[in-house]
Amino acid sequence: MTIVVAARHVAKDYTVGKFPERRTFSAVADVSLSIGSGETLGIVGESGCGKSTLSRLVLGLEAPTRGEIQIGSETVARDGQLIKSRPRGLVQAVMQDPGSSLNPKLRISTIVTEPLKVTEPGLGRAELLERAGAALDLVGLDRSSLSKFPHQFSGGQKQRVAIARALVSNPRLIVLDEAISSLDVSVAAQVMNLLKGLQDRLGISYLFISHQLAAVMYMSHHVSVMYMGRIVETGTAAEIGRRPRHPYTHALLGAALPADIVQARAAKAVGGEVPDPLAPPSGCTFHSRCPRAIERCATVVPAWIARSPTHGLLCDVD
């Protein structure tokens, strides 16, 4: 199994405030992950967990403060720097808001061919249009869309255009950052089916980031749960869904509201709120809300325990 993307102990710190009240916090504290070819890794977490920052790091929009990121066999980020000769086009993205993902002033053909102009600059106009047309075929849009403008499309169709743009350079990985969160339920279902079909056909890998637990479980082969900048549990979708081990994963699953009366009414809220990232709790960042916490949890950052080759968690009380 070839590894398409790997991240090792990646962290991203930000400083806020002006002198003398400058403070540093870690949006991503310590994340390691790897995605195999043709597979989907789902990242699930609530607001402030660092999943958006993680997506920016994988896309090369910012350099990680610590740690290493590899795409294929090439290291693209290390020691706080981005390697300039990063191979382009291998990683593309689809974002949350389809409306702002497409430049309203440009035609669909210009939008969809943009990545190609970077990865294959020698292509002529006819070839570019042909590749764009092929990408639109893949996402189920008519080729006549090429001459149209974004405002002529609905939200779901715009997201398909965004997917076509992500596909056109034959990427190995597409980062889907809350890509279905702004879509209606029925449209989201269509798009998720489309993405799965494309994965079967083309062997692309996905990094599927979402706060919607059920969608992550549906789309992903493996799932990582993030809390305050760390991955607290990773497993296959079945392991996370049926045999979760970390208390936060339990809490997320417990708070999910399925479209079922019995399950929805059995859901339990975990107390408290996500702590201020500028003043994270000592030791395990979840200990203040954890039903299992012992004394040690308040002082010692937990270690990663691997329960199986695919299933591991960050907890000292398991």
Binding site: R88, Q92, S100, N103, L106, E114, P115, H151, F153
Partner: protein
């Protein structure tokens, strides 16, 4: 919550675009542009021809003759013809300032907003410095030190006006920069320059057009004020401002001499402002209609 707009056919859209257009203002601008383009061809007499026998004749509607429809000035020169030719002088200044100061300021605003960091800080501090000066004073200082003439006047106004454009455009760029389509372009490896040209500029053009239109009136007034103060376009070239200035000595003997150029300035300024406001409402991408 309120549903999106609805698709329309192309002719209907064009009709809608023109609906509510300020006809009078557009007509005044059309006449102004005709004067600029046709120049001498629109005049009735040679604008600089002195004819002391005909001095201070009133306009046609106030007792004069239709041969000199807006009257004559203190040297017997036809006011109407001088207005026509004077329009060109004002127009040249407007175009010069918009092209150099407006486009230049906008370009700096794009760079400042997109690149950020030290570049942004530097450009904006320069802009702040320029904006802090009283405009007329700055323009007078420049023309007095560099000498009179149209070119120097244009330079003076550019130095004063670029900062306004830069600031407004930069504000827009800061918003555009965070839009997903820019972020996606960056993550696809598109170069900064290409992003600025392909993504940022087309999205600031609308604002730029509106700001430019709204500045036209201001430029004309400043040029007129400077000419009034003697620091603008030198005589004998007719310019509306200097015509008003020289004419103020004749307020009692021939009030139309300063009044006609002043009214012309006011009408053209107002028209450009009204059209600018109308454009601001109209130049909206949602104008093209909703999903087909």
């Amino acid at each position: 919550m309120i549903p999106a707009t609805v698709a329309t056919s192309a002719p209907k859209r064009r009709a809608r675009m023109l609906a509510g257009a300020p006809i009078i203002s557009l007509s005044i601008i059309a006449i102004f542009l005709a004067m600029v383009v046709l120049g001498q061809a629109m005049t009735l007499h040679a604008p600089n021809q002195i004819n002391l026998a005909l001095k201070l004749h009133p306009p046609a509607l106030l007792g004069g003759s239709w041969e000199y429809p807006l009257g004559t000035d203190w040297l017997g020169r036809d006011l109407y013809s001088r207005i026509v030719v004077g329009a060109r002088a004002s127009f040249v200044v407007v175009v010069g300032v918009l092209l150099v100061g407006g486009l230049g300021g906008a370009a700096l605003g794009v760079i400042s907003g997109y690149v950020g960091g030290t570049t942004d800080a530097l450009i904006m501090r320069c802009a702040d410095a320029t904006l802090a000066f009283p405009i007329i004073l700055l323009a007078v200082l420049i023309t007095v030190t560099m000498g009179p003439g149209t070119a120097n006047l244009i330079i003076a106004l550019c130095l004063v006006l670029w900062a306004r454009f830069a600031r407004i455009v930069r504000g827009q760029v800061l918003v555009i920069r965070e839009q997903n389509f820019v972020v996606l372009a960056r993550s696809s490896g598109v170069s900064g320059v290409t992003i600025m040209l392909r993504h940022v500029v087309p999205n600031v053009v609308n604002t730029l057009i509106v700001v430019m239109t709204l500045q036209i009136g201001w430029i004309i007034i400043v040029e007129a004020s400077l000419s009034f103060l003697g620091a603008g376009i030198p005589p004998p070239t007719p310019a509306w401002g200097s015509m008003a200035a020289r004419g103020r000595d004749f307020l009692t003997t021939g009030w139309w001499v300063p009044a006609v150029p002043c009214l012309s300035i006011a009408l053209v300024c107002l028209s450009f402002n009204i059209v600018g406001d109308w454009l601001r409402d109209r130049l909206d991408p949602s104008l093209r209609g909703g999903p087909d």
